[in-house]
Symmetry: C2
């Protein structure tokens, strides 16, 4: 699962093969087909693994946001930190398109946004929290396509408006 998760980031969901995963994990080819019925099973498990990692990160976000500091600024900083590593945005977006075509993946794809809305629930109206989550998804795909993500002041300004 870990190997598959790494590889989804590197070669994408499309490039994921049993052999590639087996080689990365250092196990024989038979192992990947023994533990996972099909390649879809394998990719789903890998995506679930990635989702659990981001869920753990969400706890860190919650802690930072609950610290009481300026909400938009904190959020902008957290998001900038998240995007600092280009490799993060790619698998997340890959999950979105995969979920668009495979309904069984949708709960996974919703996890991040729903989790963020829950965390923000303590500090903002539900509608505003949802708008922020949606906006940050936009920031994610925006960063995918540009050399530089949105600058932090602009991020903070937009978040301030959405949370007002």
């Amino acid at each position: 699962m870990e190997a598959a998760g790494q590889l989804i980031g590197e070669v994408g969901m499309a490039g994921l093969t049993h052999r590639l995963v087996a080689a990365r994990a250092g196990v024989p080819l038979g192992a990947t087909t023994y533990y996972f019925t099909s390649l879809d099973d394998l990719s789903e498990a890998a995506l679930r693994h990635l989702t659990e990692e981001t869920a753990a990160e969400l706890d860190a976000w919650a802690a930072a946001l609950d610290s009481g500091a300026d909400l938009p600024a904190t959020l902008a900083g957290l998001m900038a930190g998240y995007l600092a590593d280009r490799g993060r945005a790619l698998p997340e977006t890959e999950l979105y398109v995969a979920a668009g075509r495979r309904p069984e993946l949708r709960p996974l794809a919703r996890a991040w946004g729903d989790g963020l809305v829950r965390v923000l629930g303590a500090h903002a109206e539900p509608a505003a929290a949802r708008a922020v989550a949606v906006f940050l998804d936009g920031v994610l795909v925006h960063a995918l396509v540009r050399d530089e993500p949105i600058d932090q002041p602009a991020l903070r300004a937009a978040l301030t408006k959405l949370l007002s």
Copy 2:
């Protein structure tokens, strides 16, 4: 190009093959390899074709927005109309992830957002226009993963804040 564009929406960039495109277009297999050096060439041409279609739609948006009616409401209505057809969001997002991995596709992926910022330039500050474009990208991927897109009033409310 048209056939390939359709197929990207149906089977995704990953499922695109020479044979599939040829069958859909009603041409022999050799034709796709004759006119396009490689499969990457073919997919790029198809994505460029799709981008040109959305560029044409952007003109309609510009007309609606220039009509002087309530900006956030008009924008929310246009976006809701765009998302009414589920098949539209998928290829667009597929382009985003493809561009994330293939830099030569990035100009294509930026076209929609940049175009929207240009159109909004007449009615809003540049920073606000950019924030709106980013937010609407978020709305796009959000719709990909839910059965129902964001409801129009919420959309209008968020856009109002971003444009204030």
